[in-house]
């Protein structure tokens, strides 16, 4: 196949659908298995619409599409349930990530897997939002007092809530990064400059959506699911451009994360950028190694690289002493 067998196989098929013409059956098998493991199989299915492919691959992708269409329906219903629970509070409710993409009909939502419902509300309104959700059938997932206290004190979201009948989770954010992380995004501006949807809910404006995706990837997480997050960014940039992005990212303290996201999105998916953005950073190769650490059997590879990014994610999230205390508490609980 002439291509290293890692996530770049999937990236190439997404960025350049015609490239699948060179795949043999082993190549198709690896591509489809990887796409499923990265939760990108329905996205791939939409990208490969109208491209000639073996019947078995077509069937596989048709199944992925049908499954995704059902997931989309469920996610939209969950959005509607949240609207009914919170609509009368007079509080701006901003949809985040996948739910926003599909509610607004963005290209980034095409084939997008949506798990939990993520919303952003003003911090001052958290108590009222929480009470309204509890009153409408959502319940706490984590009854553990340490975890609960940890979330409330140190996280950018409430402890996750799950609906007792529909079994779906909602994450209620008051900003997009933990308060313990170094960058401090301007949460008031995120809400003030959000865009109203026809149903009365809001979504972030396009620059903030990209900032959020980049923050999630590089200032918070360990890059698991990174190919999916970068694909979101790729589609958002494609749809909305990046004219005001640099200034907006600076305002949130996310300029380095956003620059890195665009460079990597360019490297993986050939995202079209203006001069200056695409200049590669010194450790981009390491990030690409982590992002594409997946083999044709769907397994994660490169354990040392992944461990490095896992440690890094905690390092970014909290100061050293706090990290030590947190890991100590978690370890003792596990041992006990």
């Amino acid at each position: 196949m002439g291509l290293a067998l890692d996530g770049r196989l999937l990236a190439r098929a997404l960025a350049d659908p015609a490239s699948v013409a060179t795949l043999d059956s082993a190549g198709w098998q690896a591509l489809l298995t990887m796409a499923r493991a990265e939760l990108l199989s329905a996205t791939l299915a939409h990208r490969l619409d109208g491209i000639a492919k073996p019947a078995a691959a077509q069937r596989f992708l048709d199944d992925a599409k049908a499954s995704c269409a059902q997931g989309r329906l469920v996610a939209l219903w969950e959005v509607e349930m949240a609207r009914r629970a919170l609509g009368d509070l007079g509080v701006p409710v901003v949809l985040l990530k996948g739910s926003a993409f599909i509610a607004a009909g963005l290209a980034a939502g095409q084939g997008r897997f949506v798990g939990d419902l993520d919303i952003l509300v003003p911090r001052a309104e958290l108590d009222r939002v929480e009470a309204a959700l509890l009153g409408a059938g959502w319940e706490w997932v984590k009854p553990d007092p340490y975890d609960d206290a940890y979330y409330r004190r140190w996280m950018h979201e409430l402890p996750p809530l799950i609906h007792r009948v529909r079994d779906r989770m909602i994450d209620v954010h008051h900003t997009i990064l933990p308060p313990t992380a170094r960058p401090t995004p301007d949460a008031d501006a995120l809400i003030a400059d959000s865009i109203a949807l026809p149903n009365g809910l809001h979504m972030l404006n396009s620059d903030d959506m990209i900032c959020h995706a980049a923050a999630h990837l590089f200032a918070d997480g360990d890059l698991s699911g990174g190919m999916r997050n970068l694909w979101d960014i790729h589609r958002l940039v494609d749809d909305f451009g990046i004219a005001g992005l640099a200034e907006r990212a600076r305002r949130h303290g996310l300029a380095p994360a956003v620059r890195r996201a665009l460079r990597l999105s360019h490297a993986l998916y050939d995202t079209q950028l203006r001069d200056g953005w695409a200049r590669s950073g010194s450790d981009d190769d390491l990030y690409l190694r982590r992002l594409t650490a997946r083999d044709g059997w769907g397994r994660q590879t490169r354990p040392v690289t992944r461990l490095g990014f896992y440690v890094r994610s905690h390092w970014l999230r909290m100061p050293p002493l706090m990290l030590a205390r947190h890991l100590w508490t978690k370890w003792r609980k596990q041992a006990g």
Binding site: Q29, T33, A37, P54, A56, A64, Q70, W297, G298
Partner: protein, 286 residues
Amino acid sequence: MRHVFSVAIGPVGFRLGSDWRGPVAALERLYASYPGPQDGIADFTVRLFADRPWRRIFRPKVMIGGDFVLPEAAPLSLEHGLLAAEMAMNLQMALGQRRYLLLHASAVERNGKALVMTGLSGAGKSTLAALLMTRGWRLMGDEFALLDPATGLIHAFPRLISLKNEAIGVMQGAAPDGMFGPLLADTPKGAIRHLVPDERSVAAMLEPARPALILFPTFGHDAATREVAPSEVFVRLTQASTNYVALAERGFTALTRLVAETPARAIDYPDTESAIAQVEALWASL
């Protein structure tokens, strides 16, 4: 992966990778008459692997992985590697199948019409299906019946027949020329031995059939037959399906159609001979 095996079971293709030769050798022997996945592209990938490198050699423990996994699945011993492979493939169907409504049921076919048998574990649906196979019926599957929402037809999934405990002796008597797998003693489900579906069942595995009778067998009582109300059939089949909820409206439409168009009976049976006679009598009365 070190050792690879691919197979098509009915309309579904599987690829299995293993850290050990043993399970693959067993699968190659038992599935020898089956074709490979269409276009060489499998619908599901499963992996049998050692969670630590030394566990491949020293007191080997077989972990089950694949496209779809259950958290905290217990590992099996290497002697039970064939069982691990079968469990891993079943798991992909149970968790990942979206094309067909999956019914936890056995199915046999005669004259283009399917008899679907479902019930609690131990009701004898596997054994009855295997016995009927030895008496002129085509075996469509002993574990899953695949209902196609687009057509209302049942598709076959004739994997190896999984015989447990007493059923092993029953089938060794009923199918003396049958091809059996190794006896797997002391598995989590007791003794297990696999029986390869007969040549005809494998050759016809891509032919679907119109469902003609749904049967709920129960072993251990005097012979009796009763009608089952559509409402009860519907509820029991939703419970017997692993992907009914995931298929949503497609699943509901397919299942209501099945229940509306297909007669259903429950039978109690004291022994397998009575059960066969009851089935034949019911089938003749349709």
